[in-house]
């Protein structure tokens, strides 16, 4: 729906429509299946079967001794009374809301900067994107080294700028730890969002802006009536990615906060992870995984439906 140049738009519009009848290619379903066969094989063997095992696990009491025993929906029923899980659910939702807002807010600023035609804009864009190539674990380790109370450079910067007297204690309280992790997440992931938004912006036909300016539309009005409508599918895609990614957050907390202090920054996936890997309660871990998966599917399904309905209007 969005493309770079108007030529492309026209071409894309024509070819985007679902396969037409009588095409030399589309009428050979066997060939199509052959093309997707490797993908289908991997999906079935390495995804659906393990997923089946996971679902199976979730209905079992799965200790290490004695082998699994079916226990119906007991694992699911135990979720509301498990304080580790309920705490993690609350925290993950809070984190998801904050992270999404922060990423969107900052990315708009950075997009405004990089979308300029001034010389140097490209260099800025590259700078914003570079952290994205750093792995999440490596990025979290950079933060880990930078914010520690003893020789972390972040404290030195704060002190040199006169904000604090001693070390600020980036990981001292759950609130501070969450804030610190948010700065990491914004730094690490925003490049992708900026690039995608830029690409979306470039697809807005320049004539529209010109026309609007002739009609005396203000900057805000242009934003409201031209930019945003054109960006809506892009924004929706980014929203889905951001929410899904945040609800599945793991590495950044595992490396940076270890879930602390006082278990204050344990995400859902971390809770699942600890239940599976250090408490060896595979049944309960699987049950929570299934719940999370279903929630994500529903959430994304609703978002997509909403998106599609608006599209058809």
């Amino acid at each position: 729906m969005l493309a770079t140049s108007s030529d492309d738009v026209a071409v894309a519009r024509r070819t985007r429509r679902s396969p037409r009848k009588g095409s030399a290619l589309t009428d050979r379903p066997g060939l199509g299946m052959l093309f997707v066969a490797p993908l289908a094989a991997i999906v079935v063997v390495l995804f659906l079967i393990p997923l089946g095992v996971l679902v199976f696990m979730s209905f079992q009491d799965w200790p290490l001794l004695g082998g699994p025993k079916p226990n119906g929906i007991a694992n699911y029923q135990a979720i509301p009374s498990n304080s580790l899980f309920t705490g993690a659910i609350t925290f993950t939702l809070t984190y998801t809301a904050l992270a999404t807002v922060a990423i969107f807010a900052v990315s708009f600023v950075l997009v405004a900067v990089s979308n300029s035609h001034r010389p140097g804009a490209k260099a800025y864009r590259t700078a914003f994107f570079l952290p994205y190539v750093v792995g999440t674990a490596a990025a979290a380790l950079i933060w880990f080294a930078a914010v520690n109370d003893q020789n972390g450079i972040a404290n030195t910067i704060l002190q040199d700028l006169g904000f604090t007297k001693g070390p600020w204690g980036f990981l001292d309280t759950p609130g501070q730890a969450l804030f610190t992790t948010l700065t990491l997440v914004v730094w690490k992931f925003i490049g992708f969002q900026v690039i995608v938004l830029l690409v979306g912006l470039q697809a807005v036909p320049a004539q529209l802006y010109e026309a609007a300016r002739m009609d005396g539309a203000s900057t805000l009005q242009r934003l409201r009536y031209i930019t945003l409508p054109f960006l809506r599918p892009t924004l929706a895609l980014l929203l889905i990615l951001s929410i899904t990614g945040s609800l599945l957050a793991f590495d950044q907390f595992q490396v940076l906060t270890h879930g602390g202090p006082d278990n204050g920054t344990i995400t859902l996936v971390m809770a699942i992870y600890n239940t599976a890997f250090s408490r060896f309660d595979l049944g309960k871990a699987a049950a929570l995984s299934v719940v999370l998966l279903v929630a994500l599917v529903l959430l994304n399904g609703v978002q997509l439906m909403f998106l599609r309905r608006k599209d058809d209007q």
Partner: protein
């Protein structure tokens, strides 16, 4: 040409229906991680291929043991080292999918959890039948016992203790033959060194921001005083005690009076031994693993046990690894052959002691290699009174840099928060309750 996707729902149904059978067979299949599938209770050394995992920190020691065993036996052990930070995860995943190796060595502080989760096979009969059973480092067998049954034996043993610089003692007018024997000694000796030698030389050192290091070097004070951090099989926390207060007061006094260098506050363990091995520290609570480095630095050192505050007893934190046979192994007899060999005097003396490591048998303290260094002999003998804090929540409460142990140290010693002990008592007990 049929698409696999076409039959997807049918396959899925079929799949879920047969998952139970499938999983059962997978469990059996995956259990056969070793080459010979036939359960072989017959000969212990019959050329079986055994697998073994160890954490990376103890990889070199394990490597030398395995090499010596493979060279002299038909059985062959294949060793894999696992990064310490990923150890728990790897064990968890392997346990969940029945992919554990035959032999698993794990950090002694984590072994109570693994025993409780049923990772190891019961070795009570076999271990008790060993002729040298009563001489084994009991801290290790205790940590890997549950309800009177033994699931593991010592593999790598190290012990915390005090090292002191004899030359600095002499310079300060102290008796180099007499290491500190009580908290009063520690304070007076350290102060004398700081006062009389001075300059860039300090009396005492501890890494103020390394939870694991300080647990290793401070918890034995409490154990020697009869008030170990955990009691009741790790169900009860003993933080708010007289010995804890005495310990923290001592460290605070040493730090506040400048007997400890100011840089200690921020040391996360990286510089634990740096200054001592450069001859700039009088007294350092550390482990026997520093003997070799200190000798290389030509430090003339003495050794002492970590004392109770009043000096009535000493103790040491027995660290290292416990080794056992996992429940996935079908080669118990062969795997136990390896364990017996490791504990035998040949391996203990000619591999471990020769390399400067501690044998895990007290009766081998005066072997030909260790006896050249009285400090090592003392450390081996110390295994008899040694102590390992046993709790399934050890990692979260003590080792973790965000846990309550490090917070207690820093709040009390560096921030002067006198309520820190009672706060920590509560956090520890909460943590233990949560782990139950």
């Amino acid at each position: 040409m049929e698409s696999p996707a076409h039959h997807l729902p049918a396959r899925l149904r079929h799949l879920i229906g047969t998952t139970a059978i499938l999983t059962a067979s997978v469990l059996i299949l995956a259990a056969c991680s070793s080459s010979s599938p036939a359960p072989s209770a017959t000969k212990p050394d019959n050329g079986t291929q055994l697998t073994m995992w160890v954490r990376q920190a103890n990889g070199p020691v394990a490597q030398s043991l395995v090499k010596a065993y493979n060279a002299t036996h038909k059985n062959q052990v294949k060793l894999t080292t696992v990064p310490d930070a990923g150890f728990q995860t790897k064990i968890g995943a392997a346990a969940g999918s029945s992919g554990l190796p035959d032999i698993l060595a794990s950090d002694v502080v984590y072994s109570p959890n693994y025993v409780k989760q049923g990772l190891y096979q019961d070795l009570t009969t076999e271990v008790k039948a060993l002729p040298f059973y009563s001489n084994l480092s009991h801290a290790h067998t205790d940590a890997s016992s549950l309800n009177g049954k033994i699931y593991g034996v010592p593999f790598v043993v190290d012990s915390s203790l005090i090292m002191y610089n004899k030359d600095l003692f002499a310079k300060a007018g102290l008796d180099p033959a007499q290491g500190p024997k009580s908290f009063a000694d520690i304070y007076n000796d350290a102060k004398a060194i700081r006062d009389k030698v001075g300059g860039d030389t300090y009396g005492f050192y501890f890494p103020g921001n390394c939870s694991g290091c300080d647990a290793y070097s401070m918890l034995p004070y409490l154990a020697a005083a009869g008030e170990p951090l955990f009691k009741n099989d790790g169900k009860t926390a003993q933080v708010d005690t007289a010995s804890m207060k005495a310990t923290l007061d001592l460290y605070k006094k040493l730090y506040d009076q400048g007997i400890v260098p100011a840089s200690a506050k921020s040391d996360d363990g990286t510089n634990w031994t740096t200054l001592f091995n450069a001859g700039k520290i009088g007294i350092l609570p550390i482990g026997n693993f520093n003997f070799g480095t200190a000798e290389k630095g030509k430090i003339n050192y003495g050794e002492a046990g970590l004392p109770a505050p009043d000096g009535s007893a000493t103790s040491g934190f027995i660290g290292g690894d416990v080794v056992g046979i996992t429940k996935n192994s079908t080669h118990k007899a062969q795997a136990f052959d390896f364990l017996t060999w490791v504990l035998g005097s040949d391996a203990q003396v000619n591999v471990l002691a020769k390399a400067g490591d501690l044998p895990s048998r007290v009766d081998l303290a005066n072997n030909k290699y260790s006896s050249t260094n009285p400090a090592i002999v003392a450390a081996i003998k110390g295994e008899a009174t040694g102590y390992t804090p046993s709790s399934t929540a050890y990692g979260a409460l003590v080792n973790d840099a965000t846990g309550p142990w490090l917070k207690l140290l820093r709040d009390y010693i560096f921030s002067g928060d006198s309520n820190a002990i009672s706060t920590a008592q509560k956090s520890f007990q909460d943590g233990l309750n949560q782990a139950q």
